[in-house]
């Protein structure tokens, strides 16, 4: 009984959701979910969502949002494809660097030009896609073929583990992670506690940029292409994962890192399970929408909110 007292049941729903989704598909597909081949596919499809959500969780704990992530990834991917023609080993560092620069620009627009994050990243998203189209010149760029052979499971799993571990460390065990949540709880109080709100906001966007840069690189070795549509469906998936996992839109100390893992894997298992069932894509979208609505409706903390935004 004692441990039950400590558990806030609302926070458990995302986890129950994940278990529910996995069990549901395990039963309905007759045990296909846990076949090695399929687990690999799940890891594969969670790869992008998970890494992006790790970085996004910091932005969300500050109480911000990012609409430009997919575009930043596409630009990084494109730049990686450009430099890969010179030397493929430049691709990853350049992608990360470019992501960081674009992230910093987001930070600048939000923290220095003092635009709300939604508006800020909406405008930068538009600017970035303009730049993207300029670089691509209406076409697509492709990577040297042998770079495709880098796209191995072991590299992906290593990258995922490293980034998740860094994420956990930053989120829970450093002043930075705690300051993010402090800013999300009350920016003025954080400022009066000596937290440089501007720096924290910059950092979250730059880190997001780094993650997007890395993903741009992985997208390049996965698809062999950089195009205007690269990363276009990333944002919705990441937002869904974050909310399914229970990250609050308002930020603050209610943000927990486990939400990142739970949300990302729920999304991955959901998409994968529906593919295993052989559903039509329009049905998939409908089901995804319903699951999303139920999850958010159950786990959202309306009590502490005066107005539902």
């Amino acid at each position: 009984m004692d441990f039950l007292k400590k558990v806030n049941f609302k926070t458990l729903f995302p986890l129950l959701g994940l278990i529910g989704v996995v069990l549901f598909f395990q039963i309905i597909t007759g045990g296909k979910v846990f076949q090695t081949k399929n687990i690999m596919a799940v890891i594969n499809s969670s790869f992008f969502i998970l890494i992006a959500t790790v970085a996004f969780s910091f932005i969300m704990s500050v109480g911000n949002l990012d609409l430009s992530m997919g575009t930043v990834m596409a630009v990084s991917c494109t730049c990686a494809a450009v430099v890969a023609k010179i030397s493929p080993f430049l691709a990853l560092p350049v992608a990360i660097l470019v992501g960081g620069i674009f992230g910093a620009f987001n930070g600048f627009v939000h923290a220095d030009m003092k635009l709300g994050s939604l508006i800020a990243t909406m405008t930068t998203q538009s600017i970035f896609s303009g730049i993207l189209v300029l670089i691509l010149d209406g076409g697509t760029l492709s990577a040297p073929k042998y770079m495709l052979s880098w796209n191995t499971m072991s590299l992906k799993i290593t990258a995922m583990l490293i980034i998740v571990l860094i994420g956990i460390y930053l989120f829970n065990f450093t002043a930075y992670g705690k300051q993010c949540r402090a800013v999300g709880s009350c920016a003025e109080a954080a400022r009066l506690c000596g937290v440089s709100v501007r720096r924290v906001k910059y950092m979250t966007f730059i880190n997001m940029g780094f993650a997007m840069g890395a993903l741009g690189f992985f997208s390049l070795i996965r698809t062999g292409t950089a195009s205007a549509t690269t990363g276009s469906d990333l944002m919705m998936n990441v937002w869904c994962a974050a909310l399914l996992g229970g990250l609050p839109l308002s930020g603050g100390s209610a943000a927990k890192f486990r939400s990142v893992l739970i949300g990302s894997f729920t999304m991955a298992f959901l998409a994968n399970g529906m593919t295993l069932m052989g559903l039509l894509s329009r049905d998939k979208q409908l089901i995804q929408g319903i699951v999303f609505l139920i999850a958010v409706a159950i786990s959202f903390d309306r009590k502490h909110m005066v107005v539902i935004k």
């Binding site: 007292k5 309905i28 495709l148 292409t225 690269t230 994968n272």
Partner: protein
């Protein structure tokens, strides 16, 4: 506290009940659903006994889903694959981006597909798909699009798992429509098309340009990248007022709905119905009405939108059954036909306006298209079959 505990226990009980309950009903649901999308497991057994060869699972991914055209295509493919003893699933939104395409292929490989057909957004993505399919031992082919990059062609045709490409002959369509107009005495044409760089409309325009050179016609004006019917109206209005010598407006390719109708309306409103005509590629929904008004003079299109994915899926199905039609990857360009009069338009609409129309009936499929039953089926004879079908509007 007790309430909370109780609530959790109740929820758990509900979830368990739901899951176990659903396990059985959903299994039957699953079969029910698959009658829509594919044949049922039991059906499969009978078809397997009817035909020879092993069972197989295919996946088809295309850019859009939900239209009548899509239903017509999926019905036909489902029937055909079922007759040949396999199952097939469809997914929309695949060609929209490279990410979505790769995700589709990865998912389908994981789901245990034996063969995959899709419409690629770019050439470069094919290299990755090729590598993935080779590793997984899955056959694949593409539809709707040609490959321009010679390096990519060389790379994928070297793979044992690439079976080929079925696409429409866009250049020929562009030429055909212009030639039709020439017969009606039309010389000066304004075009409405996509932004330059779109491979489909670029090739259609190339065909049109060739017709201009050979037949002494002229493209006097152009409007590009229109997305809404109102844009088309504006474009048509400015053509009509600026070019008095204009004979026709040629809608080479659009993405929006109702474009053709908007142009027709603009011509009518300008009082130039007699002197200015309309021509299109891709059959508009209101084709018979437009002919009736004597506005439309020529419309080119593949006899049915779903026919080329149908054929490539058939080739893939044969490949998966171990009875390949061709040892080498195929590359079949489908001729587009043009419709010039209201009777043909009406006949066509009657035939393909209905999603249940079958390209080929069951007998023909198992006796002719299934190589296991018809060892004489070769690439050459297949092309004859295609020609016969596409010319028969």
């Amino acid at each position: 506290m007790k309430k909370k505990l109780l609530a959790v226990i109740m929820t758990a009980a509900m979830v368990v009940g739901y899951l176990t309950g659903c396990g059985s009903t959903a299994a039957s649901n699953g079969t029910k659903e698959s009658t829509n999308a594919s044949t049922t497991e039991t059906n499969e057994d009978t078809t397997v006994s009817k035909t020879t060869g092993k069972s197989f699972k295919l996946a088809v991914g295309l850019p859009d889903s939900g239209s009548t055209m899509f239903s017509l295509m999926s019905n036909n493919i489902t029937t055909m694959v079922g007759d040949m003893g396999g199952t097939v699933v469809f997914q929309g939104g695949v060609g929209a981006s490279t990410d979505a395409t790769i995700q589709f292929v990865e998912d389908q490989i994981a789901a245990g597909a034996n063969g995959i057909i899709f419409s690629p957004p770019s050439d470069a993505v094919l290299t990755s798909v090729c590598a993935m399919c080779e590793e997984a031992g899955v056959y694949w082919g593409i539809t709707f699009r040609t490959i321009l990059d010679q390096e990519v062609i060389d790379y994928i045709t070297a793979s044992d798992y690439y079976i080929g490409n079925c696409y429409e002959d866009e250049e020929q369509a562009g030429y055909q429509v212009m030639a039709d107009m020439n017969e009606r005495g039309i010389k000066n044409v304004a075009i409405i098309s996509q932004a330059k760089g779109n491979t489909t409309t670029d090739r259609r325009e190339a065909g049109a340009q060739q017709a201009c050179n050979e037949l002494g016609m002229k493209i006097v004006a152009e409007a590009r990248a229109l997305t809404q019917a109102s844009d088309a109206t504006k474009a048509a209005e400015s053509f009509l007022s600026a070019y008095s010598e204009l004979d026709a407006i040629f809608v080479v390719g659009t993405t929006g709905a109702g474009m053709h109708e908007a142009v027709a309306k603009a011509i009518e409103d300008a009082g130039k119905s007699d002197s200015v005509k309309l021509a299109t590629i891709d059959f508009p929904d209101t084709m018979p009405e437009l002919f009736e008004k004597d506005c439309l003079v020529s419309s080119a299109g593949l006899i049915s939108w779903g026919y080329d994915p149908y054929i490539i899926t058939m080739i893939l199905a044969n490949q998966c059954k171990g009875t390949p039609i061709s040892e080498e990857p195929v590359s079949i360009a489908f001729p587009m036909s043009s419709i010039n009069d209201i009777d043909t338009a009406n006949t066509w609409t009657e035939r393909f306006g209905d999603a249940t129309t079958l390209y080929y009936d069951e007998d023909f499929i198992s006796s002719t298209l299934d190589k296991a039953n018809n060892p004489d089926l070769t690439l050459e004879s297949l092309i004859e079959i295609i020609k016969k079908y596409t010319s028969n509007i």
